[in-house]
Amino acid sequence: MAAVDDAQQPDSRLSKTNRERLVSAGRHAALLVWSFVVLFPLYWIVSMSLKPPTAAISLPPDWIFLPTVYNYIQLLQQSSFVYAFFNSVFMVSASVILVLLIGVPAAYVLSRYDIPKQRDVLVWILSSRMLPPVAVIIPFFVIFRALNLYDTRIGMIFMYITINISLVVWVMKAFFDGIPETLEEAARVDGATRFQAFRKVILPAAKPGIFSVAIISFIFAWIELLFSLVLTNNNAVTVTMQVYQFIGVRQIEWGMLAAATTATIIPVVIFVIAVNRYLAAGLSFGVVIKE
């Protein structure tokens, strides 16, 4: 391989290894710059949560400080926060599983079959996320009360599904589009049923897509604010609502706000780590390409 590469570029002044090293260094430099951009605000939020209140807003900052977990202890002692936290974990997880069960098969159909008025169907699906939530919370509040879904977990799970269904259908359709049809045709020839072909051949091939939309759906539901504000009261209360309780009328409790914000990031991190290895697994086996 190296030989081929060198042969192609005989007049390159850099040897291959040097060039590779340079590319690699540039790559890491760029990635580290972005890592700093991404991580510094996060570091700041976390450090606010570990500092006493005055230090949280003083400049120049204490770069080195004795961390205190006082805010986190306070947070854990608040039964309402803990309740809302696990309530959210449950409702959001359930909604992600359900939205995948509903959305992924539908996306497969939209990718593989000719549906009458396909374009209109696709736009219609997309239209469910077009209006700003502020324009639809009143109608949703009215429906939820009429159906006795107000302040119930079922109601919020349903709401989260509606937030994510268009995302799942569209993104998964795109991933299925990228998987050659010859794959399941081959499976069918081997005697698999339609469903078996879908389950054993197509789904594994679409894994990076499925887990990506799972992460994104999880996050969208997890950070959702307006619907949980208007559609819940005490029973189905969500963690986002509890984070904002530290923004008071004449005082913002910076340390507690930062601690609560940090606490809400943790489940997402755990979830991403858990599915991490599936994000990169793709079509690792030899296939016939359609082009």
Binding site: V109, M130, T162, V169, T193, I223, L226, T240, T261, I289
Partner: protein, 311 residues
């Protein structure tokens, strides 16, 4: 593979018969739940907003609520209010943020894909996703104090460690600031989908192009991007729609100001409906907005989607 074709095998037992039905009508089973959910969530809110936009629904004037009003709501909000201004601002905001997020997201996905060390790869992948997990109102509240010219850490760092002078982010360059904050918050969305898309590019394809000795950029232009087209298109389309309806992050950062410099359509709808309690007017803006964005999406789907991406 167009419509489902009947399979021929005769299943005598009930279970087998059921399985046969399952497979024969698989597409229908697959799509029905989604259609039901969609019906539930689109019809009523849409109809409700349309109704509100056509009647008088100014809550401070309770005697006239519900009277048919023709297009007067539309006329009112689009002649007196800042509705048109807010459409212009929204388009600027969307264009700026979308370009940044798409560009950065793609470059990051490409760079991370090429990282050799698995450990580093995992680190980048996780780090680059997290910003999305910071809830917008938390981000905006803490972001405000970080951006504060007198006591904020970001102007402080710029002053101390760079030759530049920090601008007054929220008062002098508000639109740029909200675009940058949104980019920080939502580039992960692009990154994660692009990254998954690149991971799905068959290795055989990549290796074939490597053997050809094509330079890196050409591998992207001729192999990877064409292969990823459906994924690229859908990520951009969805982000576009989400950007258009951005609310909490910008509202908490600037309240739409200074003046009306960052008053997005969603903020305008919110103010009209929830602050001025003119639900009819708010619905009228929402309907015009919806028509506009449906048209835009249709154009994109026909011109880019059907003619470019899906052949």
């Amino acid at each position: 593979m167009s419509t489902p074709t009947q399979t021929t095998s005769q299943g005598p037992s009930g279970l087998a018969r059921l399985r046969e039905l399952w497979n024969a009508y698989l597409p229908y089973w697959f799509i029905t739940p989604m259609v039901l959910v969609m019906l539930l969530i689109t019809i009523f809110p849409g109809a409700y907003d349309l109704y509100l936009s056509l009647v008088k629904y100014q809550l401070t004037d309770p005697t006239t609520i519900g009277q048919f009003n023709g297009l007067a709501n539309y006329e009112r909000v689009f002649t007196s209010g800042g509705a048109i201004n807010s459409f212009v601002i929204t388009i600027t905001f969307v264009a700026g943020a979308l370009a940044l997020e798409t560009g950065i997201g793609f470059v990051l996905a490409a760079l991370v894909t090429g990282v050799k060390s698995d450990r580093m790869k995992t680190f980048y992948r996780i780090a680059f996703i997290i910003p999305m997990a910071v809830a917008p109102v938390s981000l905006a509240t803490i972001g405000r104090i970080m951006l504060n010219t007198e006591i904020g850490i970001i102007p402080f760092l710029i002053q101390q460690f760079t030759p530049f002078v920090a601008p007054n982010f929220l008062s002098d360059v508000p639109l740029l600031t909200v675009i940058l904050v949104d980019t920080w918050n939502w580039t992960p969305f692009m990154f994660i989908i692009f990254y998954a898309g690149m991971s799905s590019v068959p290795k055989t394809l990549l290796e074939a192009s490597k053997v050809d000795g094509a330079p890196l950029w050409r591998r992207y232009v001729h192999v990877i991007i064409p292969y990823m087209k459906p994924v690229l298109f859908v990520a951009i389309l969805i982000r576009l729609i989400d950007l258009f309806r951005t609310f909490g992050l910008v509202f908490s950062l600037t309240s739409g100001g200074p003046g009306t410099a960052t008053e997005l359509v969603s903020i305008n709808i919110f103010q009209t409906g929830f602050t001025f309690v003119d639900l009819g007017g708010a619905a009228a803006i929402a309907i015009v907005y919806l028509v506009g964005i449906v048209a835009l999406c249709n154009i994109l789907i026909i011109k880019v989607g059907f003619e470019g991406v899906w052949d």
